[in-house]
Symmetry: C2
Subunit: 270 residues, 2 copies
Amino acid sequence: MLECLVDGEISTYVPASNRGLNYGDGVFETLLVSNGQPHRWQAHMDRLGAGCERLGIAMPPQAVLLREVQTVSAGLAEVVVKVVLCRGGLARGYSPSRDAGSVRIVSAHQLPTNIEENMARGVKARICDLRLAIQPALGGIKHLNRLEQVLASSESFVEGVSEGIMLDPEDHVISAISANIFLILEDRLLTPRLDRCGVRGVIRSQILAACSGRCEQRRIQVDLLHEADEVFICNSVRGIVPVIGIDDHEFSIGPVTRELQSWLRDGDRA
Amino acid sequence: MLECLVDGEISTYVPASNRGLNYGDGVFETLLVSNGQPHRWQAHMDRLGAGCERLGIAMPPQAVLLREVQTVSAGLAEVVVKVVLCRGGLARGYSPSRDAGSVRIVSAHQLPTNIEENMARGVKARICDLRLAIQPALGGIKHLNRLEQVLASSESFVEGVSEGIMLDPEDHVISAISANIFLILEDRLLTPRLDRCGVRGVIRSQILAACSGRCEQRRIQVDLLHEADEVFICNSVRGIVPVIGIDDHEFSIGPVTRELQSWLRDGDRA
C-alpha cells in the first residue's frame, strides 16, 4: 500500500468494530488513476452508488471521494486506487443503525506488472471447481463478501494457467475470478446476466453501452464456450485481456477483441 | 467494546489491508465468559478449528486464544467475548499467501439485557423475505461473510416480533438470523442440516450430542413448522429461547424446551 486515507485522515488503520471487518458490510471500487486523474470516474461512482442503494449504505458526496482519490495518488504516474465504503456504526449485532453514515478507506497501490503483456498475448484459464452461489439480493454488487473468490483463487492452477472461470451451480458461466467475461459468436458479443451472482464491472457496462446493437446479456451454458470464436475478460485495472485457452480448449485472439482493446485505449487517452 | 486485543497487543485498530476487512476472509466465535472462564471453550475451539481447516486459515494455539480471552474479560463478572480470526497477509488480490498466518482480534462486550426474560417468556418471530444462498463450500462455517444476515436484520419487523427465521431458496428452514433452530414433533427433536448454508452452532452441537437418540438433522420444509409441538432457537450467548409464534402461527412453551433449558443451565453451573 502506497498511501491510505481513512475518513479523509492519513491512516492505515480502521477500528476493530468496523462493520466491513466483522460482516463484510460494505462495497468497494478499484480504479485505475493516471497522474491524479481516475479513469471512468463517473461509471465507478454510478456503480458504487447503485451498490450503496441496494444495501442501504450511505453514499458520501462524490466530490469528497474524488478529493481523496486524488490525494492518495498525488505525484504518482499510474496507480490502482481502492475505495472501500463500509456501513457506519458498530458491529455488535447484525442489525444496522439508522443514520450511521459510512466509513471511507481510500488507498493507492502499485499496478500489476504484467498488464501490457497479458493484453497483447492473452491468458490461459481453467474452469474453477468452486461454484458461485445464487443470491439475487447481492447479484451484481461489488460488495465485501468475497470468500468465494478467495477460495477459487486457492484452487491449484497448473503452470501457465493464470485465470479461473467461475460457473453458477446450474453450469452457467458467470465471470473470471476478478473480471467479467465476453464471448464472441459470429460477430455477436455475449456476456452473462449478473442478476443472481457476479459483479457488474465498469468496463463490462461500457462495452454493453458502446456495442448495444450487437451485444446481449444472457444465461450462458458452459458448453457454449466451445463454440465461441473469441473470448475475453475485462476489468478496470487490466483492461480487455484475450483468453487463449480454457482447460483443453484453445481460442485464437480475434478481430473483435483487438477492436475493443483499441476502443478502450482511445477512450483512456481522450 | 470494553477491551480489545489485536494479535495480543492492547489495541482497537486493525490495518486497512486486513483480509477480513477487504474480503470477509476469516472466521469468528462469540463466547459467554463468566469470571474469566469461557463457557463451552473446547466446543468453540473445535468449531473455530474446523472453519480454519476448511478455509485454509492458520489456527493459532488454543492456549494463546485462551489467554487473550481471559485478558479481555479480566475483572468482569459476565461478558460476551468475540474472537475474530482473519487470514494473514495482504489484501491486494484474492489469492492467499502461503504461511501468512492469521490475525487475532479478541474483544469483550456487554451482555444483551433481555436474556433472562427471553428464556422465560419466549420470543415471536417472522419468516424473513431474504433467502440464504446455497453454497456447500461455506455451509456450516461461522465465517465473516455476513451480508445476508445484515440484510435479513434490516427487514421491517412488526412491534413485538424480535426474531427472523431464514429459509433457503427451496423453502427449507435453516436457522434464525443469529441462532440455530429446533422443532419438537412428538418428542423427537428436529434441526436443519447445515451442509449447504447456515452456521453449525456450539449449543446446537451439544444438544445433538446429548439427545442423539431422539434428535435428527434433516431438511425441514417450512410447512412442517405448523406441525411442531414446540420450537426453540439457541446460541452461545442467549442460551435456549422458546419461540412462541412465527408469523400468524402460535406455539406454546413445552416440556422439552424447559427440560433442555435446565440441562444447559446445569451444564453452565458445573
